[in-house]
């Protein structure tokens, strides 16, 4: 019965596609998508994978809240973000499918390979719910194809729960002509700790999926790939950050579990002891920060990893680190706020609190990696800045980077990325604990164990001797010196590069993880002849130099951010009362340029199309001004 794609099968060549695998949580969508994504990457496609995570571990099955799954966007070229809506989906039931529909996740003519068993299910309730869901989704032009996923899976395994995902993988493999030998290797690798039988069964399921698709589907999509020249790796941003911490030579990561940051510590806990380090799970985020600070005081450059609510708890300790000038790296994997907010979902709303959450003046460095690759390198950079400037460095990533999976050029490690051994050499005669260089504010870090260096560091105002001092002069001097270090650091930075022409009608400014989506939107607008460029900031405190000059070359400047801002025209909201997006707020203060913003906080990464629409809207408003 097997037949290869023949004249009845339409093969459509496309530059890229976005595919969803949507299941109840616990049905293995993750494995299916990981293998599919890896296979695409290995075949030379650009890939971006995102998880759809329910807030609970395993909520009641077959409900809209049980939706778990993955989105894989892959194409001929590099893929830098999750893109717009999905072109094809595999759905294990009508309710999880409905939840994605309600989130407007599917393209209007999305192809949905839907489990066939529910429509005529013996349970009337299930049948009714199915019918209602289909009715609701009929507003769109989706093409539903019913696939007996469970029935086919049961031909190979007794429990379809553990198997449907591989059958689904087979469907996708056939539709996108994926290389079966690569899939087989991936499966063998994933199940390497289980018996050979497990691998065999899973491969059989994939093959059955392929055969079913061949037999029953009349379409395929072709996405060309160009094998990469240099060697590459594929991982998510949290894995990249964890490996970056090791590459930076960090030996202490103190943390308290919090989504979506925790998996950084999972990755680290698995390996860091082989690198002379440890993960300390503290009793709370305050303690985690304190343990990290204590370790840094002892000569390390320690790391603490957290997300919004944990960040709030660490504030007092961060001020102490800043006041005592003890290096510390803080990774904040942002999620939606305020309070417990959106635990598993993305937002860029901790920018201002990262800069200003401490009482008093507490200068620190804040950087935001723009890609998964930068999550790795940011750790190395942060460690070095923290040590050189005896300061706190906060790295702002987010749930988008944390769980997005993308390939990047394999780094070439350098031993100089790591911390130098502690300098225990005798201190020059008369050296004081805070012998601030009056130009730079820098002073030598004296670590316990250094003979003759005994002194007590304190969070109280202090003089060069580290003696508590409340006199006006020494307080002003301390503030000045701690701030000066930031200016010195800023002098080492270069202006950010502009993507697109150096001048034009509109400059879109973003920060951190939105780079890929913004650039894609800008490309689209430029292709239509619009004079639009973008600039993605990575240093937020201090900011890269030259911003004002860059802004002056554009008629309008607008930030795009995943956070809240008021919309003029809403009740009570005027130009005067309007609260801006957080980067816009900062840039307005920094440059005195009338910078607008378009922000959105849907709990998902921004879509290029939404950004594009905001650009069009801004251009039209600008033109009518």
């Amino acid at each position: 019965m097997n037949r290869t794609a023949n004249s009845q099968t339409t093969v459509t060549a496309v530059p890229e596609h976005t595919v969803e695998i949507i299941t109840n949580s616990g049905e293995g969508a993750q494995k299916c998508a990981t293998i599919f994504g890896q296979t695409c990457a290995k075949m030379g496609n650009g890939v971006w994978t995102v998880e759809i995570i329910p807030a609970e571990i395993e909520p009641p099955h077959h409900t809209v809240t049980s939706t778990s799954g993955n989105i894989v966007r892959f194409g001929t070229e590099k893929v830098t973000n999750w893109g717009d809506r999905s072109k094809l989906a595999v759905a294990f039931n009508d309710q999880v499918c409905l939840s994605r529909h309600r989130l407007d996740s599917f393209d209007d003519d999305c192809i949905i390979l839907h489990e066939a068993m529910w429509e005529k299910h013996e349970d009337e309730n299930i049948r009714n719910n199915y019918a209602k869901a289909m009715e609701e989704m009929s507003s769109k032009n989706y093409r539903f194809i019913k696939v007996p996923i469970e029935e086919e899976t049961l031909k190979v395994v007794d429990n379809a729960q553990h198997g449907k995902n591989m059958f689904a993988l087979g469907l996708l493999a056939e539709i996108y002509q994926r290389d079966l030998s690569i899939i087989e290797k991936q499966i063998a690798n994933i199940f390497r700790h289980k018996s050979a039988k497990v691998t065999e069964v899973n491969i059989e399921l994939v093959k059955n999926g392929i055969a079913w698709a061949r037999e029953n589907l009349d379409f395929q999509f072709q996405i060309k790939s160009v094998p990469a020249k240099e060697s590459r790796v594929v991982m998510n941003g949290n894995q990249a950050a964890a490996l970056g911490a090791v590459a930076a030579g960090m030996e202490m990561c103190a943390m308290y579990p919090i989504t979506p940051a925790t998996s950084v510590s999972h990755e680290l806990a698995a390996i860091i002891e082989n690198y002379g380090g440890m993960v300390h799970q503290a009793e709370d985020e305050i303690a985690a920060c304190g343990v990290a600070l204590g370790a840094s005081y002892g000569g390390k450059v320690a790391l603490t990893v957290t997300s919004g609510p944990g960040m709030a708890l660490k504030t007092e300790f961060l001020a102490l680190a800043i006041m005592t000038e003890i290096p510390l790296v803080v990774l904040n994997v942002q999620r939606g706020g305020p309070s417990t907010g959106l635990p598993t979902k993305v937002e860029q709303s901790d920018l201002l609190s990262s800069l200003y959450s401490q009482p008093g003046d507490a200068p620190r460095v804040v950087i935001a990696p723009r890609s998964i690759e930068e999550c790795f390198h940011a750790m190395v950079t942060a460690r070095r800045i923290a040590e050189t400037f005896r300061c706190v460095v906060i790295i702002l990533t987010d749930a988008n980077l944390a769980s997005g999976v993308q390939q990047f050029t394999r780094p070439k490690f350098d031993v100089r990325w790591q911390q130098e051994p502690i300098d225990f050499s005798a201190l020059p005669e008369g050296l004081r604990p805070y012998d601030w260089d009056s130009e730079t504010g820098l002073s030598r870090r004296i670590v316990p164990g250094t003979p003759g260096g005994q002194h007590t560091v304190t969070g109280l105002a202090h003089d060069e001797e580290s003696h508590v001092s409340y006199d006006p002069e020494s307080n002003e001097r301390g503030c000045k010196m701690r701030s000066r270090k930031l200016a010195v650091f800023q002098s080492t930075l270069i202006p950010p590069s502009v993507y697109g022409d150096e001048e034009g009608d509109l400059l879109v400014v973003g920060w951190g993880s939105t780079q890929g989506a913004i650039e894609e939107a800008v490309d689209r607008a430029r292709a239509e002849g619009m004079k639009i460029s973008t600039c993605q900031l990575t240093f937020l405190s201090p900011m890269e130099p030259g911003l004002k000059e860059i802004f002056s070359r554009f008629k309008q400047v607008m930030t795009v951010e995943i956070n809240y801002s008021d919309t003029v025209g809403d009740p009570y909201i005027t130009e005067e009362t309007r609260r801006y997006g957080q980067l816009a707020w900062l840039l307005r203060a920094q440059t005195l340029v009338d910078i607008d913003c378009w922000t959105s906080c849907p709990g998902q990464p921004l879509r290029p199309n939404d950004i594009y629409n905001s650009i069009i809207d801004k251009s039209e408003r600008g033109a009518s001004k």
Binding site: R232, H280, A287, G290, P448, G453
Partner: protein, 317 residues
């Protein structure tokens, strides 16, 4: 240089560097006259001299409060931290630098109120720290507010009609935590006992928790008045594994032989209110010590780079 020459030099060094108690103090303590913190500082200085600890090889970590000024007056590395949070800092320091002797000094508000969570958990982690709770039953620095250890009925600025709750008993609380390995109580008006208790705490490997009862001359001058006037209201816990000091037997008639290994008796004694008890309530050297069980082999930068290549192989496309 031969190893013999090195060891000779070491001896010479040591001989030339015999430090006395005064060498361990940097400057006069700025506490009120009659403050119990002076007594603790004296006992600590004596201990450091007795043990001949190298000033650069120790660190004193504290929180915020009158008592937390302590590190400023000791010739050692010091970390005067934030209110309630000395223990996480000390734990981190000890994990990073296990070879250092790390002491922690906290007030009663510091440790048993704002820092209570860290106190419970540090007790359980059981890092090798010598921990002094300077318990004057009041918030001193902020001027006379009720602390968890303020006796019920005792008046303060925040409880002008007297503290409404029974005082928290830090010994009982500490002894209730799994993996607690050393719990002792001493008092500022018995310096010989305090010194002996400190020595035992220092020698114990693990989280050595000493509650030092003391008076605040401004706000709680009379809290221990009865016991000070009448030594018969105090019972000394003695044992060959406990602490004793010359002269104490003449002062305190009531003596109880208590084996510090006996956790049940320790707990029962800690909760009794019939007498004030000084001595080691509990000590067990066999419990897991956090910085020991978490110690890791140092790895060279080159080795790290090689290892990283293997990690990245896992993610290779």
């Amino acid at each position: 240089m031969s190893s013999i020459a090195i060891s000779l030099l070491d001896i010479e060094d040591d001989a030339s560097e015999c430090l006395v108690a005064e060498d361990y103090q940097t400057r006069e303590g700025k506490w009120c006259a009659g403050c119990g913190d002076f007594g603790a500082l004296n006992a600590v200085k004596r201990l450091l001299a007795k043990e001949q600890l190298k000033p650069e090889k120790m660190a004193f970590v504290s929180g915020i409060g009158c008592s937390s000024r302590f590190p400023h007056y000791v010739n050692a590395y010091g970390f005067h931290g934030i209110h309630g949070r000395a223990l996480p800092i000390a734990t981190g320091l000890k994990l990073a630098r296990p070879e250092l002797d790390v002491f922690v000094v906290m007030g009663d508000g510091d440790c048993t109120s704002i820092g209570a969570g860290h106190w419970i958990h540090a007790t359980r982690y059981n890092p090798n720290l010598t921990v002094l709770l300077l318990d004057n039953n009041i918030y001193g620095l902020t001027k006379n507010q009720t602390s968890p250890t303020t006796p019920q009925g005792y008046k303060s600025n925040t409880s002008p009609r007297g503290s409404v709750l029974p005082a928290l008993n830090p010994l009982q609380a500490t002894l209730g935590v799994s993996n607690a390995s050393f719990v002792a109580q001493t008092a500022d008006w018995v310096p010989a006992h305090m010194y002996a208790t400190l020595q035992a705490a220092y020698q114990h490997t693990g989280f050595s928790f000493i509650r030092i009862l003391q008076r605040c001359p401004k706000f709680t001058p009379d809290v221990f008045q009865d016991q000070i006037k009448n030594p018969d209201l105090t019972e000394l816990l003695v044992h060959e594994d406990g602490v004793d000091a010359p002269g104490l037997e003449r002062l305190f008639k009531a003596r109880r032989v208590h084996d510090p290994k006996d956790i049940d008796e320790a707990r029962s004694l800690a909760q009794r209110t019939d007498m004030l008890r000084l001595g080691i309530f509990f000590r067990d050297d066999s419990f897991p010590v956090y910085d020991e069980i978490r110690s890791v082999r140092p790895v060279s930068p080159e080795e790290k780079v090689q290892g990283l290549e293997r990690e990245f192989d896992r993610y290779a496309v």
